[in-house]
């Protein structure tokens, strides 16, 4: 079902986006979570701050704690055009221009009152839970937060898949840390005793939602694709990547989403964009790298206006590669959390990333690979040009490279990005024409 806000019959103005029921559901979930987070003085809930890749939401919920994700706050602030001011504030306080802009947006936000999107201050965390899954900056970020909050910190060290695979040894190592370090730290912070059966329940709920998410992501194999797996995809992964995995709310969200996508398939419709259904699909792309958040709609428009649809993306795998078969498993709760952390995209080495992108190129019958290289994200950016060349070589499809940033508005040059994208699309056209002629 398509619902337009605020007037169902009027065509959307450039400022009001077309929304579907699942979008409204997610919006309401996020709003409720921020109300809970900013209401801890009244509701007495304890708070964990943690990150998206390797997010242990089910475990956090076992202790009745709330999950606050600084990355998500930075993204929210990026989309609300607040991150620029926050970043300047952080730079004023001595953080270099080259530091990850999520970090600076977060620190700047704290310096300016730490206000959540509902306008109320976010609580001090009772525990900083760091699942280290490939991004070194996370460690430094929490170091800064610990300094600020003087609260307990616990780190789950997830070994990097440097050799391209996870071993039993790695898995045991993570499970041991969960038992010896993480769970006791959560118990201390919350005063709640760990109950493994409660964890199993949540994991069972997670797996249901994960099935539906995969179904949605894989719908992009169809032509036309009923979804955009990057610009739409970042919303689809929202609940599972954040504070909702393992909740009935998330399961309900994915049930709604799946029904909507099934309906779009049945009606032969393309993805919903902020300006309504995408009409023609001339280019099918695989995208590597996170999106730009400060000019998100402008960025997306550059694609749908040209008939470019993203059929698969690596960014939507930073919180787990469910489409490659991983499911949270109630029968092996701690082991499955270990496998989850080991398998997230940020913990993959370069050859694994190349292999995954190549599979996507083939499975989703893409016309090319586009890399959005993020200025302030070394974890993602290192090696991307090599990735592009390798994919070009293996698939014979053209690649393209654009450069933007996560939440620093100064590094999004619309004219340049548009110029590159249009050139790229025309290049694909030209290649097609020569292929047909030959």
């Amino acid at each position: 079902m398509t619902v337009k806000i605020p007037t169902p019959s009027a065509p959307p103005s450039p400022h009001e986006a077309v929304k579907e029921a699942s979008m409204l559901k997610q919006k309401e979930m996020i709003a409720r979570n921020y109300e809970l987070l900013t209401g801890t003085a009244e509701n007495g809930r304890k708070v964990v701050s943690t990150f998206v890749p390797g997010n242990l939401n089910e475990l956090v919920m076992c202790f009745d704690m709330l999950n606050n994700l600084p990355e998500i706050n930075a993204i929210q602030n990026g989309m609300k055009k607040l991150s620029g001011g926050y970043i300047e504030e952080a730079e004023k306080r001595g953080h270099s221009e080259d530091v990850c802009t999520y970090v600076k947006a977060d620190l700047g936000m704290m310096a300016k009152g730490n206000l959540a999107p509902n306008g109320k201050p976010l609580p001090r965390p009772d525990l900083l839970l760091l699942s280290y899954t490939g991004c070194f900056t996370f460690m430094k970020w929490f170091e800064l937060l610990r300094e600020q909050y003087k609260c307990p910190t616990v780190m789950l060290h997830v070994p990097y898949q440097g050799d391209g695979h996870a071993t039993q040894n790695m898995r045991d190592y993570i499970v041991k840390q969960l038992k010896d370090e993480v769970i006791p730290a959560l118990e201390r912070a919350s005063g709640v005793k760990f109950d493994i059966d409660r964890l199993r329940e949540y994991l069972r709920e997670s797996a249901r939602a994960e099935d539906d998410l995969v179904r949605v992501l894989e719908s992009a194999k169809r032509k036309p694709s009923p979804i955009d797996a990057y610009f739409g995809g970042v919303f689809y992964i929202g609940p599972i990547f954040t504070a909702f995995r393992g909740t009935p709310d998330a399961t309900e969200y994915y049930r709604l989403l799946r029904a909507e996508v099934d309906e779009r398939v049945r009606r032969g419709l393309g993805p919903v964009t902020p300006e309504g259904d995408m009409k023609s699909q001339r280019y099918r792309l695989v995208v590597e790298g996170p999106p730009n958040w400060t000019s998100f709609r402008e960025f997306w428009k550059m694609f749908y206006d040209e008939g470019a649809v993203v059929v698969a993306s690596s960014y939507t795998k930073v919180g787990g590669l469910y489409d490659r078969g991983f499911r949270h498993d109630p029968d092996h709760p701690l082991e499955s959390l270990a496998d989850y952390c080991l398998g997230v995209y940020t913990n993959h080495n370069l050859p694994q990333r190349v292999a995954l992108l190549e599979q996507y190129m083939r499975e989703y019958e893409a016309d090319g690979l586009l890399i959005n290289s993020i200025k302030s994200c070394n974890s993602f950016s290192a090696g991307q040009l090599m990735i592009m060349r390798e994919i070009e070589k293996r698939t014979g499809k053209p690649g393209a490279f654009i450069e933007t940033d996560l939440v620093d508005p100064r590094y999004f040059s619309a004219a340049n990005v548009k110029n590159r994208l249009e050139s790229y699309f025309q290049m694909i056209d030209q290649k097609r024409q020569t292929a047909t002629a030959a």
Binding site: N416, Q426, M427, Q430
Partner: protein
């Protein structure tokens, strides 16, 4: 006859190329981009059509026995007169506009004095224009704004002093007026100007008479039909064309370079605000490209900034750098930092030419890095854009190409500034003929 037109709206200049049915270039036109792309496109297109007309005249006159061996001289004469007629027409427009802008409340009490001064400045400008367009005279620029502007300032200042008028006031009127004149679409009537120029040329040359006038009139009567126009460059979205008439400048540059040199596999274009490295296949189809996009360091604008800092003309930089006895190392490719480094070096007593050699090397090093990101240099290598006209930049490029890629054929066309427009014209021709 059918004409296929490509227009490249760059950040500094706007270029047009007119192509005929057979793919031959008939004419090229260039103008400054101003802040008004519509007018820039119209002016450059008109200039290209004027140039095309000269090509037709040449074709017509090549058979005229009385001009045997003198076609070039005659056409040179004709063009000189044509430009002069055109200049006087624009000067009239500027004068009327300035007189209009010199009236009103702000000028209360001074209107008459201002009007008289303007009249005198323009009288002298007209008088001087004879010499400006005399045989063998060299003009620093062919853009009306440049020619009229510098002389206007020079003439107006002493006149204002004499009349007890504020020079700033006069400048203000000029600035406002030149913008209006530049942004007015060009007047279409070329025929009349050509005939007037013909009269003048015949009068001056004497004797040739009908034997020349006849083929000239015949060439002037060939209709130039715009069969298809393709726009490219940064201003392309501003062009009043449907979307299918717009091509990315990457594709246009790739194809344009291929048309100029069909062995081209790698293209480097250093323009006013970006540097592009493009890889093309044997048909001129783009395979890969890279460009600067977070920062304009190392683009043509860098040299423009350096020229301003050194109080030199952009075209004087290259020749001075060629006189260097050593190349100083300039670390920063940041335009603004390079300015600081430049002043620092000057303060330390380094020679201007040596510093300039270093700055040219810095810009080329930056380009080399973009090239390597696009996949490196393959034989043949074609260098285009405004910076390709700079001999010092070219010298550094040759050195660095040799060091990094060995013996590679390097193509630099004197008309390389038209590469994008040429590709655009070829796309226009393909759109109709395909």
């Amino acid at each position: 006859m059918n004409c296929y037109i490509g227009i490249d709206l760059g950040s500094t200049t706007t270029k047009s190329v007119v192509m005929d049915d057979g793919g031959q270039v008939l004419g090229r036109g260039i103008t400054n981009s101003r802040s008004n792309y519509d007018t820039a496109a119209a002016v450059s297109k008109q200039e290209a059509l004027i140039d095309a007309r000269f090509t037709l005249l040449r074709r017509g006159l090549e058979g005229a026995p009385s001009l045997k061996g003198k076609v070039d001289a005659f056409l040179g004469d004709l063009e000189r007169h044509f430009r002069h007629v055109q200049f006087l027409e624009q000067l009239d427009d500027l004068e009327q506009t300035a007189r209009r802008n010199g009236r009103g409340l702000r000028f209360a009490g001074q209107e008459q004095a201002l009007g008289e001064a303007l009249g005198e400045v323009f009288r002298r400008l007209r008088e001087e224009s004879e010499a400006l367009f005399a045989p063998g005279a060299r003009r620093r620029s062919d853009f009306f704004r440049d020619i009229a502007g510098s002389r206007f300032m020079a003439l107006a200042e002493p006149l204002c002093k004499e009349a007890g008028l504020s020079f700033d006031l006069m400048l203000n009127v000029y600035d406002k007026s030149i913008i209006e004149v530049e942004n007015r679409p060009p007047s279409g009537a070329m025929q009349g100007k050509f005939l007037r120029a013909l009269e003048l040329a015949l009068g001056a040359g004497g004797g040739a008479g009908d034997a020349v006038a006849h083929p000239v009139r015949a060439a002037l009567e060939i209709p130039l039909e715009e069969a298809y126009v393709v726009g490219t460059g940064y201003g392309r979205v501003r062009l009043p064309f449907p979307k299918e008439h717009i091509r990315s400048e990457i594709l246009c540059h790739g194809l344009g370079a291929h048309i100029m040199y069909d062995g081209t596999r790698t293209v480097l274009d250093i323009g006013g605000q970006d540097t592009k490295a493009i890889q093309v296949d044997k048909e001129g189809i783009v395979e890969n490209f890279q460009m600067n996009d977070r920062c304009a360091a190392g683009t043509g604008r860098y040299l423009g900034y350096v020229a301003d800092e050194m109080k030199m003309g952009l075209h004087e930089l290259g020749p001075l750098a060629m006189k260097a006895t050593k190349t100083l190392r300039i670390n920063s490719t940041c335009t603004v930092f390079a300015g600081a480094e430049l002043r620092d070096r000057l303060a330390l007593g380094d020679k201007r030419e040596d510093i300039l050699a270093g700055l040219h090397r810095a810009i080329i090093l930056r380009a080399m890095s973009i090239i390597s990101r696009s996949g490196g240099i393959r034989d043949q290598f074609t260098f285009t854009g405004g910076v390709a006209k700079n001999e010092a930049a070219v010298r550094e490029l040759r050195k660095l190409v040799k060091e990094n890629y060995g013996d590679v054929t390097i193509n630099i066309n004197p008309d390389s500034i038209y590469t994008g427009a040429l590709g655009g014209a070829a796309f226009a021709r393909r759109a109709v003929q395909a």
